[in-house]
Amino acid sequence: MSIRLSSLCKSFGDHLALDHVSVEIETGEFFVVLGPSGCGKSTLLRCIAGLEAIDSGEIALGGQMMAGPRTFVPPERRNVGVVFQSYALWPHMSVEQNVAFPLETAGLARSETADQTAACLEMVELAPLAKRRPADLSGGQRQRVALARCLAQSARTILMDEPLANLDPHLRSAMEEELAEFHRKSGSTTIFITHDQREAMALADRIALMKDGKLLQVDAPDKLYSRPASEMAAQFIGRSTIVNATAMQVQNGRARVHWADQPIDVACPSSTRPGPVRLMIRPEHLKPADDGALASIVQRATYRGGYWEAHVRIERTSEEVLVNLATRAGSGDELHLFLDGGWVVPADGPL
């Protein structure tokens, strides 16, 4: 079911939690929302589900107006499935009963309900705990019950608020695959909130980046990563350093820029003009090499499992940049780097 939000506003007291949010999400799209804590992601979901009244704007699901001036379709008639950030499991029902509830509500036959419930529990690897009460489950197990309950509903629109936050990475990637598979099979439109950018990249058709109740950029994952439309987006998605450089020549989406006394060839938006620019450098753009032109000194390095993430200072400019190192490095170590890639961030992102 397609989702259309037009100029959605919602405030709590004098805090504007959603600030003229407009976006169209196509039927069957897997749409991920990223954004800092408290930026309004959950509020957005709650408004779409009909759990929160909106102040102004419109929400349409499948072309049908759900909320707008003088219209409000209650949540039970919107046919959306929701995974709540705080799970919202019903404490008086067993795991099984929690999952079966939406099916029973839909009026399914008892045997069918049982079958589908069992299948959903199987999917989240909770079949052996079917008879337990939520209070007797671990945090991750509760979260999976919430996930199973949402999936069981087979709604045409699915809204998930950090549904995998409390799972270990293996279970998490297993669930990601299940979700992707489920999404592919069911064709339901999915809005998915996560803080895990790897997850977002892996699952999303498009990612929306949200801040202070506004949508900053809505794009395909690799585009968002490699071509952020604003400094904020560049900083929020992935690790990066933004430095001052000077564009010398611009042509066909490539620019020759000058940084740390080096001429470098990087990608740039078509709006770029020669002159001072802001250059985004991702850690993978910098590679250590004996003949690297950028002499630098390691400030501190953190082990990240398989590699060390180092803050290094470029001697020429005294700027600190991030770089991933395959071998252990200590503070004070000298390094030679060369820059292979980068992106000129558009001058005025839609902030």
Binding site: R46, A49, G50, L51, F72, P74, P75, E76, R77, R78, N79, V80, G81, V82, F84, S86, A88, L89, W90, P91, H92, F101, P102, T105, A106, R133, A135, R149, Q153, A155
Partner: protein, 566 residues
């Protein structure tokens, strides 16, 4: 686990000992009279009583009327609480206020008012020309009439209890149900009501026990309907004046106590099963849109309020405004003499107001505090703590179930002599009534508090524990504010009940220590019906003022403490 004399254990010991002293001891002394023969302890009188046809019949009637009325009160009270708590009806504060108002009229006055209101002499019905034929049997003089009035009398108990529980209900649990496609009614049946089950059960138990021990309505309607219940039987036994009065009364009280105890056991058993802590933060209550039905529902609500409030209140007022009972109220018969009499000429009225306000208020506060403590232990993780507290709770429950007049006999037995050590006699002072109120009405205050404790997520206490907070501090800073709405509901119920009761203080009052209830009863009893009505009217008005005055407190108290403030 190490058994130590921690603050916790000491508090438990104190509260159990206190409850035993003021609830258990008087009852024990009373029961002893019934269960001792010449040769010491004997069950013979009890068995004899159980074999007597009149006792059997009264026992059955009591159980029947209490069960039926408790069921109806639970349904009615819950329905009202749900409509007001979960929908977008308007003027909720006023509605809550008006629903509670009937509790403020003493039960026997309510009964009289209803009898007048629906009888052949009814002013109201006469205006509409639908009064029953003069001399015909009154429609309320029947089992159904009795159950109806008990229901109306006790549904505010359930209403307040459920409303307090709704306040701490995490919003997301309802939200989750709605996005699953369940409409309001399915959500109610499958999610809301099951999760409120401990409160519903508590409401049922409370109104059951209240009906069991109710005297005013049982006597006013039961006697003419020849539907004798145990409290009426007790009254009959008392009216024989002879030396075997007390043993007889004691034996019937033992039976009442047994019924109450059974009800409590059943309740705790069920409640244990239904216990479900509500994890989540309570948020603004749901306001389900009623759409076009809103007007209809509101009309029904206001109609209900009008029926249960305006009808008796109007006939009360009509009686208070005529010179003598039985005169129709017209311009020529209208007089304010009765008000002048009770307010200015009878010094007892003002004294009674002062006394009742003081001790009912103090009892309400004391009970709220005790409930806070006792409720904590009743839902404690450790079984031994729970058991000890349950023993105290059961005593309170029995004290509530035994008719007030019997309790006052028990209190005379226990407290007529000066207290040991301090050598002060409570008998003949206002304080014995205060103690009796705490004893008899503890069960009312305890119920909502216990139900609220059952819903609290255990991790909230754990968080306080690891923060280093000892027992007293946890109680004060964590539980007290979270329980406050329930405790306040309980305290308000206690206050309203004690403010107008007539039976507990019946034998304990003395000159200078009159209560409102006894004063009204004495007017009534002495044949001054119009004065009684005037006094009742004044009581209702005064209570309204007190309740409104509480609004002023609301700013400082935790949210939801004053039920009619949102």
């Amino acid at each position: 686990m190490r058994a130590s004399f921690s603050a916790e254990t000491v508090s438990l010991g104190l509260v159990v000992a206190g409850a035993t002293l003021i609830c258990g001891l008087p009852l024990l002394l009373l029961f002893k009279i019934g269960l001792t023969g010449t040769g010491g302890f004997t069950l013979t009188p009890l068995l004899e009583a159980l074999n007597s046809r009149s006792v059997q019949q009264a026992l059955w009637n009591s159980i029947e009327s209490s069960t039926l009325s408790a069921l109806c009160a639970t349904v009615l009270g819950t329905a009202l609480a749900l409509i007001i708590g979960l929908t977008n009806v308007r003027a909720k504060g006023i509605l809550v206020f008006l629903i509670l108002l009937p509790m403020m009229i003493p039960p026997h006055v309510t009964a009289i008012a209803w009898i007048q209101a629906l009888g052949p002499g009814s002013q109201v019905l006469q205006w509409f020309g639908i009064a029953p034929e003069i001399g015909s049997t009154h429609p309320l003089y029947s089992r159904e009439g009795l159950v109806l009035l008990l229901t109306l009398q006790h549904s505010p108990l359930v209403f307040l209890l459920v409303r307090a529980a709704l306040r701490s209900f995490p919003r997301e649990l309802s939200d989750a149900a709605r996005v699953c496609g369940s409409g309001a009614s399915r959500m109610l049946w499958k999610i809301t009501l099951p999760l409120l089950a401990p409160s519903l059960l508590a409401g049922f138990a409370l109104s059951f026990v209240a009906a069991l021990g109710n005297f005013g309505i049982n006597a006013m309607l039961g006697i003419p309907a020849r539907y004798t219940t145990l409290p009426v039987l007790v009254w009959r036994r008392l009216a024989s004046f002879g030396p075997d009065v007390l043993p007889n009364v004691a034996v019937i009280s033992v039976i009442l106590a047994a019924v109450a105890l059974l009800a409590i056991l059943l309740q705790t058993g069920l409640q244990k099963r239904m216990r479900t802590a509500l994890i989540g933060l309570p948020q603004d209550a749901l306001a389900l849109s009623l759409g076009k039905n809103r007007i209809l529902i509101e009309a029904l609500l206001w109609g209900f309020v009008a029926a249960v409030l305006v009808l008796p209140a109007a006939s009360l007022l009509a009686t208070a405004l005529v010179k003598t009972y039985g005169l129709p109220l017209t311009w020529s018969t209208l007089t304010f003499e009765n008000f002048a009499e009770v307010l200015w000429r009878q010094s007892v009225t003002v004294r009674a107001f002062a006394n009742s306000s003081l001790i009912a208020g103090l009892a309400a506060i004391a009970i709220a505090l005790v409930s806070l403590l006792l409720g904590y232990f009743l839902t404690h993780k450790r079984r031994n703590h729970r058991r000890a507290a349950a023993a105290a709770g059961a005593q309170a429950e029995i004290a509530f179930a035994v008719p007030g007049i019997v309790m006052s006999i028990a209190f005379i037995l226990a407290f007529i002599r000066p207290l040991p050590i301090i050598n002060v006699s409570l008998y003949g002072t206002l304080w014995i009534i205060f103690v009796a109120y705490v004893s008899c009405f503890l069960a009312i205050g305890l119920k909502p508090v216990t139900a609220a404790y059952l819903q609290i997520d255990g991790s909230l206490e754990e968080a306080a524990k690891v923060a280093g907070a000892g027992f007293g501090r946890r109680l004060r800073r964590i539980f007290a504010p979270m329980i406050a709405p329930a405790a306040a509901s309980g305290a308000i119920l206690v206050f309203l009940t004690a403010y107008n009761e007539i039976t507990v203080s019946a034998l304990l009052w003395s000159t200078g220590n009159e209560t409102i209830g006894t004063t009204i009863f004495n007017y009534e009893d002495g044949g001054y019906t119009t004065l009684a009505a005037a006094m009742s009217t004044v009581v209702v008005l005064a209570t309204i003022c007190i309740m409104l005055a509480m609004n002023g407190l609301a700013q400082r108290a935790p949210a939801g403490t004053i039920p009619w403030r949102n």
